[in-house]
């Protein structure tokens, strides 16, 4: 339930004039190619409708995806993102980075139920005034046909039935070995603290005699990698961390991003055959692969279609998906538990806590919640290892896993990339390939 006072937000909707509704289209263009293309269209006296508002940015690589969301929030009916043709970037590779990012971002917006017919991408060079005019004409006509866009209005749907996962549960007989290992490491002085799971939650064992506080059971859900960057923990000294195969992927991501020094960390890997939660179905990393020491041996899991749950959502109509997410996000209280428990969210200051300028509205309104959830999810692309901690922590029961999963699928399908499988791999975002495909860009 948000706001009971019945006020409309103070953002005036000035789309309708005495002349009737006119589409409002926002174009995000790069300074070096498309902007000059637009300029050429003007000096060549080519006609194109005045429905387009051009925002000039240095490079498509600089166009923050939050700005696109902002445009819809401010009642744009369609958006266009346009820059230099591949190979022509003024900064060599900005448009390659952009191409990879938009490919992934589109899939997220599609899952959320955005009207993809209103989101356009193109390459327009400085010499292509004609192409600019033509594309703007086309987009304006199409948008006029589609009518005004009420972005976050969807159709109400009943909560869908997701395919039931097997929820495998292993045995946890290796607990004594874990305790023995911790005791040994601490008494030999190899590490000063062992970060592990205790009876109630995470524990930080600093004395060998306390090693028995460690447990290994089905409640060992916490992804302990989230503690590695916390200053309260780093002051305890050199750490050993207990990980499952899934948590170990987080260590790979942190290493790729230069957030941890692997040689200063002792990794105790627990072979794990499942904790009896949905994420364990079809787990491919039951046996830790990079740990300094692995305790136990796990049988590989049966292969399953990891992405089947997404099909349930994608089988809905876009306005139904939007309705599904609107209902979910309306429950968001912006407690940021999803961020706090995530090992990948290690920024000193989160973008949502910045208010000069404020890109993401801080209030838990529908617009604000969409903006936040999109920002959180997209900052995880190519980084989320699917540990599921955000979903477990979310008090509102938002299906955050689905947002993470769609981006995981896109990364795998489009770029053959899986987060946290290889610490030496180039990160998905921040790198590009000349072979990246993006048929949706005109």
């Amino acid at each position: 339930m948000s706001g009971t006072n019945g006020f409309e937000p103070g953002v005036p909707n000035d789309r309708s004039s005495s002349l009737g509704w006119e589409p409002k289209i926002i174009a995000f263009v790069c300074n070096w190619c498309t902007y000059l293309g637009a300029d050429l269209a003007g000096t060549s006296r080519l006609e194109y409708p005045s429905n387009i508002r051009i925002l000039r940015l240095p490079c498509t690589g600089r166009i923050d995806f939050n700005l696109l969301v902002k445009a819809f929030e401010m009642k744009a009916d369609a958006i266009l993102v346009s820059g230099c043709h591949p190979g022509d970037c003024h900064y060599n590779a900005g448009n390659y980075h952009a191409r990879r990012r938009w490919t992934l971002f589109r899939d997220l917006l599609d899952l959320l139920g955005f009207d993809m017919r209103r989101i356009h991408f193109s390459w327009i060079s400085a010499a292509e005034g004609k192409k600019f005019a033509q594309i703007v004409n086309e987009i304006t006509d199409k948008t006029r046909e589609l009518g005004p866009y009420n972005v976050y209005q969807g159709k109400k749907v009943p909560y869908p039935t997701f395919p039931e996962s097997m929820m495998p549960l292993g045995d946890f007989s290796t607990e004594p070995e874990l305790r023995a290992t911790a005791r040994r490491l601490l008494s030999e002085g190899k590490v000063q603290v062992v970060i592990g799971w205790g009876a109630r939650g995470p524990v930080f064992v600093t004395k060998p005699e306390d090693a028995d506080k460690l447990v290994w059971n089905k409640d060992c859900l916490t992804n302990l990698a989230a503690y590695l960057k916390r200053k309260e923990i780093t002051v305890l000294g050199k750490a050993a961390i207990v990980v499952k195969g899934c948590d170990e992927r987080s260590l790979q991501v942190l290493q790729q991003e230069s957030q941890i020094e692997r040689e200063n960390l002792y990794v105790i890997g627990m072979a794990c055959e499942g904790l009896g939660v949905p994420k364990c179905a079809g787990c491919q990393v039951r046996q830790p692969r990079f740990a300094d020491e692995v305790i136990g041996e796990a049988k590989p899991a049966e292969e399953i279609d990891h992405y089947a749950a997404l099909d349930v959502l994608m089988a809905m109509q876009p306005e139904e998906r939007m309705g599904f997410w609107a209902e979910q996000f309306d429950r968001c209280v912006r407690c940021y538990a999803c961020r706090q428990v995530c090992p990948n969210c290690y920024c000193e200051q989160c973008i949502v806590d910045k208010n000069r300028p404020q890109e993401i509205p801080q209030s838990p309104t529908r617009e604000g919640n969409f903006a936040w959830q999109i920002a959180r999810a997209f900052h995880q692309v190519g980084r989320c290892v699917g540990c599921g901690e955000c979903t477990r922590a979310c008090p509102a029961g938002i299906d955050l896993w689905a947002l993470n999963l769609v981006l995981e699928r896109s990364a795998e399908k489009d770029f053959g990339y899986k987060a946290g499988m290889d610490g030496a791999a180039e990160p998905l975002i921040g790198s590009f390939s000349l072979k990246d495909q993006a048929e949706f860009i005109r």
Binding site: P202, T222, E232, C335, Q340, E389, P395
Partner: protein, 331 residues
């Protein structure tokens, strides 16, 4: 002698209230892993007999997570303020846990001690709370430690005590409660026996003393190591009431609103200079206990906790008020 109502009749009442244009809220399964107090469209959505406590509390029906206070318009150098034009809907909350209902008289202090908070008071006046007494408890429940019980009537307009056979004994506490059930109940000679509730787990007096006298004890630091600062304890707490004031708008106008805030977040006390008087998670954890068991009792004479166990049950790191206060109580 007692007044009783069958569950079917109660659900019929709910549908009547809905048909009469009231907003009805109660426990509802909202996703595969969460039951929340949330507005319902039909009585069939209500989960009145769920064994578990909903993850949230009922405070958001009185103190919404985002509440618009007034609107403003900017014209030239003038700013015009426009007061709330609203007409509040009558609300009925069905199936509240007694611990959640008991939080409201506690919150009444803070929303009325100097400034009388109109929005809060109006919502209080427009709402009738029907609590259902608990028939079970879990490890996180500790209502009996703070002077309540599974059938406490405090804060409720009516309490329904289940017989266990699909009927409830209706105990009307206030006139609002009586009005709601007038003509709906039957007189019976049965009396429901209420569930006893959890054993006493903590000693609030001892916690208060500890918070006051051992403010700088290393205990706080050791205890808070696992805390991730997610703040879900505060947002699901029936008594946590901190808020932030924000302006949402543009160059032409906008509105002023209050949003929930949480002392567990690093930005809660962050100064513009960059200094943070509560810079570590340990200090923020201590603050939550200190406020609930020392500050509030000093000011208003009662603890800011109803023993609902939400913070403890749902903490992703296994902490929460019960964990820390029971350690203090048994030290």
């Amino acid at each position: 002698m007692s007044e009783i109502i069958s569950k079917d009749e109660l659900l019929r009442c709910v549908d009547e209230w809905l048909a009469a244009g009231k907003q009805v809220a109660g426990p509802k399964q909202v996703s595969w892993n969460r039951v929340l107090y949330t507005p319902v469209q039909a009585s069939t959505e209500l989960l009145l007999d769920a064994a578990t406590h909903p993850v949230n509390s009922i405070k958001e029906f009185f103190f919404p997570k985002h509440q618009k206070l007034y609107r403003y318009e900017i014209q030239g150098n003038d700013v015009h303020f426009i007061e709330s034009p609203e007409k509040l809907p009558d609300q009925v909350i069905v199936g509240a846990r007694p611990c959640d209902a008991a939080a409201l008289p506690i919150l009444d202090h803070v929303f009325n001690w100097d400034y009388k908070d109109t929005q809060y008071n109006d919502l209080r006046a427009a709402t009738t709370i029907v609590a259902v007494a608990c028939t079970s408890h879990d490890d996180a429940c500790f209502c009996t430690s703070v002077g309540l019980s599974p059938y406490a009537e405090r804060g409720s307009d009516a309490v329904l005590v289940p017989f266990g056979d699909g009927t409830y004994e209706v105990r009307c506490v206030t006139d609002k409660g009586k009005a709601l059930f007038a003509g709906k109940t039957k007189t019976s000679d049965r009396t429901a026996t209420a569930h006893e509730g959890p054993e006493v787990k903590i000693d609030p007096a001892k916690v208060k003393e500890f918070a006051r006298d051992r403010f700088n004890d290393p205990f706080w630091k050791e205890h808070a190591l696992a805390c991730m600062g997610c703040g879900m304890c505060a947002c699901n707490c029936p008594t946590c009431h901190c808020f932030d004031i924000v302006d949402e708008g543009n160059i032409k106008g906008g509105y002023r609103a209050r949003n929930w805030d949480s002392c567990q977040q690093q930005v809660f006390t962050l100064h513009a200079s960059g200094h943070n008087p509560r810079g570590s998670q340990a200090e923020r954890q201590r603050q939550r206990v200190y406020h609930k068991f020392h500050v509030y009792p000093e000011k208003f004479g009662e603890v800011l906790c109803t023993g609902c166990g939400n913070c403890t049950r749902n903490c992703p790191a296994g902490l929460g008020i019960l964990t820390v206060t029971s350690e203090i109580s048994h030290a």
